[in-house]
Symmetry: D3
Subunit: 330 residues, 6 copies
C-alpha cells in the first residue's frame, strides 16, 4: 500500500528521504544549460503530479526497463525549486501489480464501488420487461464488461473524471430516472432504466485509464456512442427472439442521448424515454460539474460566498454556491 502521497510532500522537510509508488506519466532525457544530461520524469498519484529528476543515468539503482504508464517504486527526496516541488530520485524500480492498488494512483470515486454495483444490479433485477431484463443481464454478465464498467471514468475531464465515475454517474441517474418515471405515467420505466444503464457503455472502449485518463485511437475515430451501440447490438444478436422494435428503441436511446447533432448524437430523441434520458444525463453531469467547481474554488482559497471563475464546461458562466452565499449574509 502507498502511504505517502504527492500532496503530503509539501509539508516535508526538504531533503528528507522517503519511499513511495508512482505512476510514470512521462519520461524524457534532457540536458541542463551546462549540458549535463538527466532523466526527467512526470510522476503521478491520485492526489496530483510532480516532476522528478534522475541525475546519474548510469546508477545501477535506477532501473532501465520502465516506460510511460508503468508503476514504479521510488526512493528520493523533495525540494522546492522556483516555488515548485521537485523530486530528486535516488532509486527507482518497476513495481509489481500486486504491490500497489491502482486506485491509489489515479483519482477515484469517493463512493463504495461494491455498493454502487449492487445498486446497478438491483435496478436491473427490478425490470418487469423480460426482454430488457435479459438484455441487461447478458451485458453485465460479461466479466470484461463488468470489470471495465466498475472502473471506467465517465469522462476525461468534464464531469465524473475519476475511476468509478461512470458507475457513480449511472447509479445517480438510476435514482433520478425512477423519480421521473414515477412522475410521468406515460413513460415506459423499463425502457428508461435500460437506456440509463447502456447509454455510456461505449465509454469502456472509448477511454483508457491505465496511465492517466485518455481516449483510445479507436475511441477518437468511432466514439462511445457507436462503440456502445456495437456492444449492445452484438449482445442482442445473441439473444433468441429479441423483439425487433424493442431493439430499435434501445439503440435509438443510445444514439440520441446527447440530444443534439452538434453534440455528436446522429439522431435527436424522438420518443419520450429518449427525451428524458437526454435531460437527466445532462442535468446530472452539470450538477456534478457545479459541485466539483465549488470544491475547486474552495481548494484555490476562494471564500465560500465568492463567484467561481468562468467555467468552460458550462458555457463560460460563473457559478455561485447558494448555501454558502446565503450563509454569508447571516
Amino acid at each position: 500500500m502507498k502511504d505517502i502521497y504527492i500532496t503530503d510532500l509539501a509539508a516535508f522537510d526538504e531533503g528528507k528521504l522517503f519511499n513511495s509508488f508512482f505512476l510514470v506519466l512521462a519520461k524524457q532525457q534532457r540536458a541542463t544549460k551546462t549540458n549535463k544530461p538527466y532523466l526527467n520524469l512526470i510522476l503521478g498519484d491520485k492526489t496530483g503530479q510532480l516532476e522528478g529528476r534522475v541525475w546519474d543515468l548510469g546508477d545501477p539503482r535506477i532501473a532501465k526497463d520502465f516506460e510511460r504508464g508503468d508503476i514504479v517504486k521510488v526512493r528520493g527526496s523533495a525540494s522546492r525549486f522556483d516555488d515548485r516541488l521537485q523530486l530528486k530520485v535516488d532509486q527507482l524500480r518497476k513495481a509489481a501489480p500486486a504491490e500497489v492498488d491502482k486506485t491509489d494512483l489515479l483519482p477515484s470515486t469517493t463512493y463504495d464501488v461494491a455498493a454502487l454495483w449492487r445498486g446497478l444490479e438491483s435496478s436491473v433485477q427490478s425490470l418487469t420487461n423480460p426482454d430488457l431484463k435479459r438484455l441487461l443481464n447478458a451485458v453485465l454478465a460479461d466479466p470484461a464488461i463488468a470489470q471495465a464498467y466498475r472502473e471506467a471514468p465517465a469522462a476525461r475531464q468534464l464531469h465524473h473524471a475519476w475511476l468509478g465515475g461512470l458507475l457513480e454517474h449511472v447509479v445517480s441517474l438510476l435514482g433520478l430516472a425512477e423519480k421521473v418515471a414515477a412522475h410521468y405515467p406515460q413513460l415506459d420505466r423499463d425502457l428508461l432504466v435500460t437506456g440509463v444503464v447502456l447509454h455510456d457503455l461505449g465509454k469502456i472502449r472509448e477511454l483508457a485509464w491505465e496511465t492517466g485518463f485518455d481516449y483510445t485511437v479507436e475511441g477518437v475515430l468511432l466514439g462511445h456512442i457507436q462503440m456502445g451501440v456495437d456492444l449492445v447490438e452484438k449482445t442482442i444478436a445473441a439473444l433468441p427472439d429479441f423483439p425487433p422494435r424493442l431493439r430499435t428503441l434501445v439503440l435509438h436511446m443510445i444514439l440520441s442521448h446527447h440530444g443534439k447533432l452538434e453534440f455528436g448524437s446522429p439522431k435527436l430523441p424522438m420518443i419520450p424515454e429518449a427525451l428524458v434520458l437526454n435531460f437527466i444525463d445532462d442535468l446530472d453531469a452539470k450538477m456534478q460539474a457545479m459541485k466539483s467547481e465549488f470544491e475547486k474554488s474552495a481548494r484555490e482559497g476562494k471564500a465560500p460566498d465568492e463567484l467561481t471563475g468562468k467555467v468552460w464546461a458550462l458555457d463560460n458562466r460563473q457559478l455561485l454556491n447558494t448555501k454558502a452565499w446565503l450563509e454569508g449574509e447571516k
Copy 2:
C-alpha cells in the same frame, strides 16, 4: 350553460335550427361575387371555430352592438359548403356574462382547477424558509393575481395552451421539483419550489385570454420574465427585512429560467437551483408537447404506431409513441 359545441355540428342534419353561445373571434362586412353584401363572422368555442354568415343586414333580430371578443347567443343552422361547415345566422344577440361559462368558449385544462390550486398552496405551506414562505403567501394573497394564476394559459401555442395551463404546468413542476430536490441534497429545496411557483408569474400580464389567446402589447414589449420580476420585486419591497441576497437569488431564478440568452433569458443559470428549474421547466413543456402531438396525430387519423409529422416546436423532429409502437409488434 352551453349544450351544443362546434364539433357536435358535423353530425347535425343540414338546415336544422339550433341555439348556442359563441365567442366572436372576427367580424367583417363582405360582398359576394354578385355584390350582395353580408356579414362574415368567425365564431369559436372550446372545441374549435366556424364561419358564420348573416345575409340580411337590416334584420332587427340581428344585434348591431357586438364586437370582436364579445360572447353572443346565436340561432341558426349549419350546412356544408365546399366540404366545410358554415353557419347561417338567423338571430344574434350579445350574451350577459352570467349566461355562459367562459371555460366553455376556450380550451381549458382537463384537471380540476380547485384541486390544482390546493396542490400549489400546500407546496407553499410546506416551505420552512420563513422569508420565502411569506413571499409566496404575499404573492398569492393578491386576489387579482390569484384569479389570473388560476385562469392563464402557459403559452399561446406551444405547450399547455389552454385555460388553467399555467397552473397545471406549475403543479406538475412542483411534483418534479420535490423529486429532484430529494435526489440532490445540495439543493435548497425551498428556493427551488419558490422558483417553480414564480418563474412564469409574468405570463398573467404577458398573455390575454379573454378573446382567444394572445399577447398584450405590454407583453410583447417587456416579456413575461421582466413582468414577473417586477411583480415579485414589488411584493418583496413591501415585506419588511427581506434578506437582500435571498431577493437576488429569487430574481435570478426568474431571469435565468429560459436557460439561454437566445431564448430570452438575459442571464444563464448560475446557481444549482436555477439550473434545475431550467431543466425541469423545459422537460415538462416538452413532455406535454409530445403528449399533445400524439393526441393530435390520433385525431388526424394516423395509426398509433406511425411517426408524427415534423414538430416545429421540437426542432422539426418527428415523434414516435413508444407504447403504441411496441404494442403494434405484438
Copy 3:
C-alpha cells in the same frame, strides 16, 4: 407492360376510355358538398401522379381488396376540372406482380442497371488489399443486399431520388475516387474505394421504395449511417481474422462521411481517405442536384440562359447553366 403514362393523358380527348396500371399512393372515402360519397384515389406512375374518383362504391367491377401501395389495373377516362386532370374510374382490380414492371411506376435511373452493377463489381475485383476485397465480396454476395443495392434511390428528394439512384451515385463516385486517388499518392486507394461502396449501404434499410419513396420508422430512429455500420460490422464479424485497425478505419469512413456533426455524422473525417470521401460524395450530389435543377427549369419553360429559382437544397442560391448562358451570347 404499361403503355399509357400519366403525362400522356394531357393530350387525350376528354372522356375517351383507356386502360393502364398505376401505383396506389393514397385511398380515402369522401363525400361531395351534397353529401354524395365517393372513393378518392391518388394514382402514380414514373411520370407523375393523378387524382382518381370512383363514384359507384357498390359497382362489382371495382375491387374491394386493394390498399395504399398496391399496383392496380384501371379502366376509365380523364377530364379536366379546375385546370387539373381527373380520372373517372370505371373498373379497377389488383394487378399481379408479373403484369407490370415496377420501374414503370416509380422514377428510375436512366442508366442500365446491369452495366452499373458490372462497374461496381469490377471496382471490387480490382482491389489489391485482400481483407477489403473479401469484405466487399461478402457484403455484395448477400442476395437481399445485392437486390436492394440495385433498386434503392439515393435519397427521398434531394439528389438521385429515383430507383437505381444509389447505385448510379456510387458508380459515379467510384470513377471520381479513382481519379482523386491517382492524384494524391498518399491515399490508400483500396480503402477509399471501400468507403465509396459502403458509405450509403444503410440506405437500403433507411428508405422504402415500394410505394413511393419514404423513410422506414427504423430509418428515422437510427439513420442510414448507423444502419450501414451495423451491416458492415456483422459482415466483418463473420470474416475470420479481419484486422481490427482496418475494421476501425472502414467504420470511421462510414461514420464520418457527412463531414460535419450537424449533418448527422457523429465524427469528423480524421484520415485522408475519409476527407476525400466526404468531398467527392458532397460534390457528386451537388453536381447531380444542379443538373436536375437545370432540367426542371427547362421543363417549367424557362429560357436556357435564365437563372433558376432559389434552390433549397443548395442553400437557397440560384443557379445558372454555363453552357446555355454562353450560348445565348453568340
Copy 4:
C-alpha cells in the same frame, strides 16, 4: 496628493527611496525557493500596477491592518528584476480617505466631470414631455444615484473603462441623439433622450470601482439591464399618475438597448426610438474602442500608419487609423 506615479518609476535610479500612495490590488504571503517568507503585494494607481515585496514580516513599520482594496502609503525603492520593475517596501501604513484623491489611483475620464454633469442636466431640463422630465429629475435627484453616476466606469474592460466613463459615454450619446432626432422627424426626441440617460443606469449597481473595476455578485446574477429597470420602475412607482404606456416604452428602451437576445437584451427594439438607441450606443462604444486601440498601438511603439493587432472586442478585426495612414503617404 500623490506626486509619484508608477509610470514615473521607470526613470528612477534603482534603489532611490521615495513615498507614494497606492491601491492594494492583491496581498499574499509567499516563500522563496530557499523558503524565506515574504509578503507579496500588487499595488496600483491610475497609470498602471507594480509588484511590491515586504521582506521583514515582523518589522513594526509595516502595518498589519490593511487588506485588498485599501489605500496605503508606502516608503520604498524600485529595482529591476528580470526586466520588470519591483518595489522593495520599507514602510507601509493605511492611508486616510482624505489623504489622497481616488481618481489618482484608478484610470479616470480626461473630461471635466462637472462639465459633463452640467451637459447631462441641461439635456434633462430641455425636455418638453413633463412626465419624462419629472422621471429624469427624480432619478438624478437621488444623491446616491447622482454620485455613482458621476463616478462609474461604463464597462470593466471593453470601452470607457475608467472613472467617469459612464457619464462621458452618456453625454456623447446625448449629443448624437439630438442630431439623429433632428434628422428623423418621426422620432420622439424626448423619449430618445430619456432612453440615453437611463439605458446604462444599472451599471452603477452592476459594477464596483472601489478597488479596481469589477462586477458585484448581484451584478453578475442580475445584470445592469434588470438593475436599471428596477431603479426606474421604483422611481416611476413613486411618481403620481405616470402614464402606463409611457412607462412601458421607457422600460422597453432599457430592456432592448443591446439589440440582440444573444447580447443579453431579452427583447429586440420594436419602436423607432429603441432602434436608434441601440445603434448610437453601439456606435459610440465602438468609436471609443477604436480610439483607445489607436492610443494603445501608439503606446506599444507601433508606427501610426501600421494596422493594430486583432481587436477582440471588435470581432478580432485589425484597425487602421485613417488620418495617420493617409499622412504617411504624403
Copy 5:
C-alpha cells in the same frame, strides 16, 4: 398622362368601360376548364397590379406584337370574381414611350428627384479633399451613371424599393453623415461623404427597373458591391495621380459597408469612417423599413396603436408606432 390607376378601379361600377396605360408584367396563353383558350395578362401601374383577360384571341383590335415589359394602352371593363377584381380587355395596343410617364407605372419616390440630385451635388461640391472631389465629380459626370443614379430603386423589396429610392436613401445618409462627422472630430468627413455617395453605386448595375424591379443575371453573379468597386476603380484609373492609399480606403468603404461577412461584405470595416458608414446605412434602411411597415399596417386597416405583424426584414420582430400608441392613451 395616365388618369385611371388600378386602385381607382375598386370604386368603379362593374362593366363600365375605361381606357388606361399599364405595364405588362406577365403574358400567358391559357384555357378554361371547358377548354376555351384565352390570353392571361398581369398588368401593373405604380399603385398595384391586376389580372386581365383577352377572350377573343383573333380580334384585330388586340395587338399581337407586345411582350412582357412593354407598356400598353388598354380599353376594357373591370368586374369582381371571387372577391378579386379582373379586367376584361376589349382593345389593346403597344404604347409609344412618349405617351406615358414611366413613373406612373412603377412605385416612385415621393420626393422631388431634381431637388434630391441638387442635394447630392451640393455635398460633392462641399468636399475640401481635391482627390475625393474629382473622383465624385468624375463618377457623376458620366451621363449614363447619373441617369441611372436618379432612377434606381435602393432594393428590390426590403427598403426604398421604388424609383428614385437609391438617391433618396443616399441623400438621407448624407444628412446623417454630416451630423455624425460633426460629432466625432476624429472622422475624415470627406472620406465618409465619399463612401456614402459611392457605397451602393453598383446597384445601378445589379438591379433592373424597366419591368418591375428585378436583379440582372450579372447582378446575381457578381453583386452590387463588386460592381460598384469596378465602376469606381475604372474611374480612379482614369484620374491622373490619384493617391494609392486613398484609393484603397475608398474601395474598402464600399467593400465593407454591409458590416459582416455573412451579409456579403468580404471585409469588416477597419477604419472609423467605414464603421460609421455601415451603421448609418443600416440605421437609415431600418428606419425607412419601420416607416413603410407602419404605413402598410394602416393600409391593411390596423388601428394606429396596434402592433404590426412580424416583420421578416427586421428579424421577425413586431413593431409599434410610438406616437400613435402614446396618442391612444390620451
Copy 6:
C-alpha cells in the same frame, strides 16, 4: 551560398565560431537586469529562427545601417541558455542581394519552380476557348505578375505557407481539375482551368514575403479576392471584344471560390465550374494541411501511428496517418 542553417546549430559545440547569412526578423535595443544595454535580434532562415545578441554596441565590426527585413552576414557562436540556443554576434554587416539566395532564408517549395511553371504554361496553351486563352496569356505575360506568381506563398500559415506555395497549389489543382472535368462532361473544362489559374491571383498583392510572410495593409483592407478581380478586370478591359458574359463568369469564379459568405466570398458558387473550383481548392488545401500535420507530428517525436494533436485549421479535429497506423498493426 549559405552553408550553415539554424537547425544545424543544435549539433554545434558551444562557443565554436561560424559565419552565415540570416534574415533580420526583428531588431530591438534592450537592457539586462543589471541595466547593461544590448541589441536583441531575431534572425531567421528557411529552417527556423534564433535569438541573437550584440553585447558591444559600439564595436565597429557591427554595422549600424541594417533594419528589420534586411539580409545580414553574421559571425558569431551559439550557446544554450535555459534550453534554448542563443547566438552571440561578434561581427555583422548587411549582405548584398547577390550574396545569398532568398530561398535559403524563407521556407520554400520542395518542387522545381521552373517545372511547376512549365506545368502551368502547358495548361494555358491547352485551352481551346480563344478568349480564355488570350486572357491567361495576357495575365502571365506581365513580368511582374509572373515573377510574383512564381514566388508567392499560398497563405501566411494555414497551407502551402512557403515560397512557391501558390504555384505548387495551383499546379496540383490543375491536375485535379483535368480529372474532374473528364468525369463530368457537363463542365466547361476551359472555364474551370481558367478559374484555377486565376482564383488566388490576388495573393501576389495580399501577401508580402520579403521579410517573413505577412499581409500587406492593402491586402488586409481589400483581400485577395477583390485584388485578383481587379487584376483580371484590368487585363480583360485591355483585350478587344472580350465577351461580356464570359467576363462575368470568370469574375464569378474568383468571387465565389471560398464557397461561403462567412469565408469571405461575397457570392456562393452558382455555376457548376465555380462549385467544382470551390471543392477542389478546399480539398487540396486540406490534403496539404494533413500532410504537413503528419510531418510536424513526426518532427515532434510522435510515433507514426499516434493521433496528431487537435488541428486548429481543420476544426480542431485530430488526424491519423492511415498508412502508418495500418503498418503499426502488422
